[in-house]
Symmetry: D3
Subunit: 137 residues, 6 copies
């Protein structure tokens, strides 16, 4: 068995969004997304958990210093999305529907580029306490 | 000592809002409310706890049937605010700044009218897990 | 201002119950209590929080040693109600409807006798995460 | 790497049960299951988390609409088990011991038939905050 | 009824401590405080909730800007106690036993001086999820 | 598909620690570990979740009786580390840096020896609500 440990860091951000497919008319959006497609938006307290898997460093005992991981998530994700309207204020969701699934994929893709390939990365995003997603599965 | 018991029912709703005083210019709003005044809105998963104080009924053992209290909160509060943009979609916050304090006062005033005077009512509103308010104090 | 501090200790127990007024016929019980009156019972993980208010002892800095308070609650409440059918197995609820309100009153009355009068006592009982009560109010 | 995302939906139900092997005498049941074999039952607030893994739909951005998944769990699981005595009121546990392990297996088997084979399904069941199970492992 | 609203802000800090009365010999400390008097210390993740009661400002809708309250708690409490050994590293607990009761009183006294008298202040301190205190009661 | 179920048991302990590499001088420790290297220690409420995977026993419906698993964790882990200074009071961390990663590995190695090989074992350790680790990954 390898010595790999998974470390997790939880951060949060608050954002507005609406679910909306611009290729569809209003009636179709309303039928598919219901009150989630309110054109004036609604919002969530998103909880984000980033999982990093690797071998602990022999000198520090850390897979990655949690302070470093936290700063990386703050700078690349929280500053980008916190207190934003995802549909209106962010390039990522101008034409991509901001479902929890798509937000998790976008966050993963941003973080994957910033983290050394020797680490595995996975993202969990809580849209509410009762609805959440993991990517990659 | 009286026989009064306090009963609590927790419900939740998701909404978008921005903090904004229309009597101020954009620079003042920005200085006072910071990123919370983003003109495109942000949002929260609000958790609402309604407290009702009274004497248990001798026949049922209930201060109020929690199902009845839950339905009352659903019909009067959750249907009104859930998946809404508080500033844009609700009459209550068209000219009232939707701070947690003001949202709690509005919710209290709506519920107070629907609940018999023999019961005391108090509202707790969680804007996030770390920021919450009670009204009346 | 006095030097009084409130200390809280949280314990839990699992129990079955049904809501039922023996003075009523089955149809009335069913109409008033709905699925909560299922004659075969249902159950809960009850969370109990005992609040004790008093002045910290000058030598220890404790209002009451939490270990002592925890043992008192274990011996008088948890051993009595944990893994029990409240209606069938306990003298307290043979003829008293085990609503959250009545369970809190019963627990308070038991603890009040075991705790010195110089301390104020209050009981909070969570029937579920979303339904809970305080006694005295 | 595939594009698969796991989505989770959390629901809850309250039920009574006892642990009991009908092939054993009372003394053996008592020795093995202790206070969990109380013939008058005890109960729990069960928290159920259903995990579904698949590819997000290109048009909606959903693996499955959480409202659809929630309704599916409500209709097939919650209505069947909520406010029930698992041993007495349900066909599934008349002769199967309602341990958390067995309840999770039963729930999985019911849901697996209702969900398209292209999705992977997993069930997590919390019997208490401190005891929980996953099936399949 | 007045218009007063209570606002709450939750912060946290991690610290080591031991319970110890220097006026007593080791055997007495051990008998009274048990494993909590371990001379090499143990520790906690303390959760601190500061409650402020006052009237919302007419222009902002805030009792106090939560960002201002959070900064006040960070500067005066968290920087003082976070990642510290309360007995060894802090002037406040050199001769005062760091029970949850005494820590709450010390925090209250520090904050009370920094907050305008028109506001009421109360401190809740969680030593663990199951043990917590309020001051003033 | 096999019939394997994962069962989880959550326990907790409170401990003091400091992060420190004895091969480094104080300045290097301070630069790498920051306030976590405070020579007087700080502390945490650790939450430990032990996961055991196996087939439910046909007669009991248990993978392992949770009471047995809880006792095993209490005797081998909680009694060893609760209310201890990990660096000073425990043989395991006299020369091993007590990061969350290393604590999880140590706990896993202790439990792995006590649990039959037919079961898979995994350890999750929460250092705070926002920082946690799994071993093996």
């Amino acid at each position: 068995m390898s010595n790999r440990v998974a470390v997790y860091r939880k951060e949060h951000f608050n954002a507005a969004h609406r679910l909306h497919n611009p290729a569809w008319d209003a009636a179709t959006n309303d039928r598919v997304f219901g009150k989630c497609s309110n054109p004036h938006f609604h919002g969530h307290n998103y909880e984000l958990v980033v999982k990093l898997t690797g071998e602990p460093d022999a000198a520090t005992g850390f897979v990655m210093d949690m302070k470093v991981l936290s700063d990386l998530v703050q700078e690349n994700i929280i500053e980008r999305f916190d207190h934003k309207n995802l549909n209106e204020d962010t390039a990522e969701f101008r034409s991509l529907n901001p479902t929890a699934e798509n937000i998790a994929i976008v966050i993963y893709n941003i973080l994957r580029e910033k983290i050394e390939p020797k680490f595995d990365v996975q993202v969990r995003l809580y849209e509410t306490e009762r609805n959440f997603v993991d990517y990659p599965a």
